[in-house]
Symmetry: C2
Subunit: 304 residues, 2 copies
């Protein structure tokens, strides 16, 4: 059986991964908002370090009401828009449709499950440098792996099919045995770099080359590892060194929150900061520096 | 006996307090740096909410080598220049000359005592809104009390005389029984407001009116109270509410560190952040949010 895919939120993430699938002849249906007219005319353009391509013609839609029911819904929206999902998703859903949140942060699958208690749900983390650079135009600068983990429902078979589809489309794809641990591991990178590049209006390389912020990045990473350990996600301490070394090797980079901030879009403070801090506190650990970064970001957001 | 005063560092603090003493006919000798020529011609001008005045003629000097030995040396330099004191002070000192550091932060008297092990030393905290607005020109906007505490030597008599002189000059003056506690109490205000107005490029009123930073200010204050308690300085918890309420009543205000930052002068990170964090850590308490603010400020300073 060939899977039918819906892409909800065709931006830096949804546009890249949906584009890869469509480019390998999968049956992919894309939801666009303001870019709908432009993409319908000109297609979806992906400039990628792994080879440029354009999807044209494209199955583009302006509303999920016009879309077919699908087997897999890949959600690439910013998590700040997740309150819209219970309204947007239903036209796409069969009882066994798997909804995959390709998003950053903690607690997002649980919130969706509360609204869709019988729907198969998974979470995915994208290890990618990509950004939307114009109407229907994505630039993929580096990396690109997807890591998926199930949240609700018996999703083993369909996740295996998805893995096959992505691997044939040229996307490195791994299946996590524990979504909670996968989310916490991603936070080890996201919590320091997303917030500090905004709070200090800088980029990853400058944070790393200044001793005081290199120490602060390390402190925040260790705080996430400590928090994870009280939240049933055991992350080995060496993972911190691995993330530091990886970032040292990266080209100077603006994380997604910095791009959101610079482009006057809402920042994902709730998913990346508030939810982890609350979850850890409930489990008995106070993420003090992470909480301070959240407090600073909320101030910055309120004045932006 | 009439006390002879030297003012070392005639800026917002030294200029105001030295000016007040000179304006009540005390024998005051002022050290100026770049402003010397201007002040020698035009005098020292203080625009004060308690009444404007000009000291002209004025005992102005460009080097302590030209100054008379004094009974009291009031140091109004920024603490970032304290490494110069062992070089600047000796011409002013008799064996019983009291050196008073009217400065913010922790550990400054101890460092001076290491260089001048037999010299009487005291510390003072100024509760004042004043700033240097031009050459030899100080603006005093609000408050004005001085609080002094002895550090080294038997200074009870001379401190009583100084208190009399200041009170006659119209300066509210109190004697602290415990300099260490006085320094920590001042930090309850200085640690949140100095650093956060720089890190978030804002003013006290905006920090107070935004819920997330009001919470952060409160967290930092409580952290200082906790740190003080392990450093032999017991501060009642209600002091935090008192400082918050006082700041709510203040006019929107840029603390001294924000003024330093805006005017491209060095910030007093060492005295206000590094020394308290280190002192508390040695005593067994980790000031995590204060340490994070220090780390952010050092990054900001390195890129300014």
């Amino acid at each position: 059986m060939n899977l039918k895919y819906a892409i909800v939120g065709t931006g830096a993430i949804g546009g890249y991964y949906g584009g890869r699938l469509a480019n390998s002849d999968k049956d992919v249906h894309f939801l666009f908002n303001t870019e709908y007219e432009h993409v319908n005319q000109n297609g979806l353009r992906v400039d990628s370090v792994k080879g440029d391509f354009v999807i044209n013609p494209i199955n583009a839609y302006h509303s999920t009401a016009d879309m077919p029911k699908c087997d897999v819904v890949l959600v690439g929206l910013k998590s700040t828009q997740n309150h819209l999902l219970p309204q947007i998703l239903p036209p796409l859903l069969k009882p066994d449709t798997l909804v995959v949140l390709i998003q950053n942060g903690l607690g997002l699958e649980g919130k969706l499950a509360a609204a869709l208690p019988n729907q198969p749900i998974a979470g995915a983390a994208a290890f990618i440098c990509s950004s939307r650079v114009g109407q229907g135009h994505i630039r993929h600068a580096d990396y690109g792996a997807l890591n998926i983990g199930t949240y609700q429902g018996d999703n083993q078979n369909i996740i295996t099919q998805i893995k096959n589809d992505f691997e044939r489309a040229g996307v490195p794809f791994t299946i996590a045995s524990d979504l909670n641990e996968m989310r916490w591991r991603k936070l080890v990178w996201n919590i320091p770099y997303n917030g500090l590049t905004v709070a200090l209006n800088t980029s990853t390389d400058k944070l790393m080359s200044t001793p005081s912020t290199r120490a602060l990045v390390t402190d925040l990473m260790n705080e996430v590892v400590d928090a994870a350990s009280v939240c049933d996600a055991i992350i080995e301490r060496e993972f911190v060194d691995k993330m530091l070394a990886m970032t040292d090797r990266m080209t100077p980079y603006s994380p997604s929150m910095k791009l959101d901030f610079d482009n006057h879009r809402p920042m994902e403070i709730e998913a990346i900061y508030t939810n982890p801090v609350k979850t850890a506190l409930t489990a008995g650990y106070h993420m003090r520096k992470t909480e301070m970064l959240e407090q600073e970001l909320r101030f910055i957001a309120s004045r932006h």
